[in-house]
Structures are given as structure tokens and as C-alpha cells.
């Protein structure tokens, strides 16, 4: 067993209606300093966190959606988004903002961090974790 554990942050809630999405992101940013194997899962209403064109001016709440684009700087490079959850909500991958990271092992090539996965794949991803944090 290596000392590195697989951490999965499961995001199932929409942004702004409750604070869970924002405070989940805060854990991810801090947790990134611990050199664990980190990935994020977005399913159910969690997929709404990643939609484009969020503008919170009218509700007077901080818009944290741009922060997802900083995750690559923190070496968080895998954001799994469940296809069925998108479908159920009438969304496609094009409705999500573009989140890129630079691949250190591939001459710093820019690659998309969002990976659309099926429900069966998501189930497998969850089943291979050491620690699952739910938000």
C-alpha cells in the first residue's frame, strides 16, 4: 500500500441555493496541498455547478464558478461529470464551461479537465476510492 490515498469529492448539489458547492471547492483547494490522488465527481444537481455564464450580480452572492478554472494550478486535473445527470437536466457538454489543465507528463500540453462519464463508469470510479467526501 502506498501512502497516497484516492480522494473523491462528490458534488451533488446546485450552486448558490446552498453553500455546499462553494465550501466543497474550499476543501478541494486546501486538500490539494496534501499530495493525495484527488478527483472530483459531479452528478445529479452537482452538474449545475459547472454551467457557463453564471452571473451572480443580481443576487449579491460571490460568483465562484471561475475558481474551477484554477484547479489545474492546484494539480487537480480530473473532473468527472455524469452523462445521465446532464441528460436528465437537458444539458450537454457544451453547456459547461471549459476547464483546462496543463499536463506535466506531456510537455505541458493543455487538456480538458472535464471528463464526461457514463453512470456505470461513475459507479466504478466511486468504487475504487479510499475516501469519499460528499457535498
Amino acid at each position: 500500500m502506498s501512502d497516497v490515498k484516492k480522494f473523491l469529492y462528490v458534488n451533488r448539489k446546485a450552486p448558490y441555493g446552498t453553500i455546499y458547492a462553494l465550501e466543497s471547492l474550499e476543501v478541494v483547494l486546501i486538500g490539494a496541498a496534501f499530495d493525495q490522488d484527488v478527483s472530483l465527481a459531479f452528478l445529479d444537481d452537482g452538474v449545475f455547478q459547472l454551467t457557463r455564464d453564471q452571473n451572480t450580480d443580481g443576487i449579491g452572492v460571490k460568483n465562484f464558478s471561475p475558481t474551477f478554472r484554477a484547479l489545474g494550478d492546484y494539480d487537480v486535473t480530473r473532473l468527472y461529470v455524469e452523462k445521465e445527470s446532464l441528460d436528465e437536466r437537458g444539458l450537454t457538454a457544451d453547456d459547461l464551461q471549459e476547464i483546462m489543465y496543463e499536463d506535466e507528463d506531456d510537455d505541458w500540453a493543455e487538456k480538458p479537465a472535464i471528463r464526461i462519464v457514463s453512470r456505470a463508469e461513475m459507479t466504478d470510479i466511486m468504487a475504487e476510492q479510499d475516501v469519499i467526501l460528499s457535498f
Partner: protein, 102 residues
């Protein structure tokens, strides 16, 4: 390798239980706690999807939460097991990880 899933939402308010069941693998366990215990009742709008999973996944209900809500074990679907907090702890240790469906 298997997972203990906990569900604490009534299945009549949102689809958390359904989502949980959709992400279970064979050999996993589901424990219904707090308002989640309503998901274990027979003759409800969600009984069919719970019963369908009950073969490949073991399904449990936390007795103290059930009793607090005036539900008796005979109202539960066949194949569902009642456990106390000690049983909850046992489920946590028996499975490799716990995933809370909050």
C-alpha cells in the same frame, strides 16, 4: 472491495435514494438513516426500485430512527434488515469505504 452507502433523505422529497441505488455495485450495502428510513417501507411509490436492488445489495434500516418515527419492522419491505447503532458501526467496518448520500 465494497461500499456502505448511507441515505438520510426521505425518497418522497428528492431522488437521493434513487441516485444512491443507481450507483451501487453488487455486494454493496445501503443503510437508511434519519428521514431516509421511509425508503424502506413496503407499498410506497419507491418500493419497487428498492425491492429490485435488494437482491444484489444488502439494505438496512436504522432501528432507532424507525422507532422514533412510529414505524414498526412489519411495515418494511421483505429482505430489509433492521440494525442499531452498533450494527451501523459494524457495517462501516465491514465495508471498505462509506459514502454518504447527503
Amino acid at each position: 472491495m465494497s461500499t456502505l452507502h448511507t441515505v438520510n433523505k426521505s425518497p418522497f422529497v428528492n431522488r437521493t435514494l434513487e441516485s444512491c441505488l443507481n450507483h451501487c455495485k453488487d455486494g454493496d450495502a445501503v443503510l437508511m438513516i434519519e428521514d431516509g428510513v421511509y425508503g424502506g417501507l413496503g407499498g410506497t411509490a419507491v418500493s419497487a426500485i428498492v425491492a429490485e436492488k435488494a437482491g444484489s445489495v444488502s439494505i438496512h434500516v436504522l432501528t432507532p430512527d424507525m422507532e422514533a418515527r412510529g414505524l414498526s419492522a412489519d411495515r418494511l419491505l421483505d429482505g430489509i434488515t433492521c440494525v442499531g447503532y452498533d450494527g451501523f458501526v459494524e457495517l462501516v467496518t465491514k465495508h471498505d469505504r462509506t459514502q454518504a448520500w447527503l
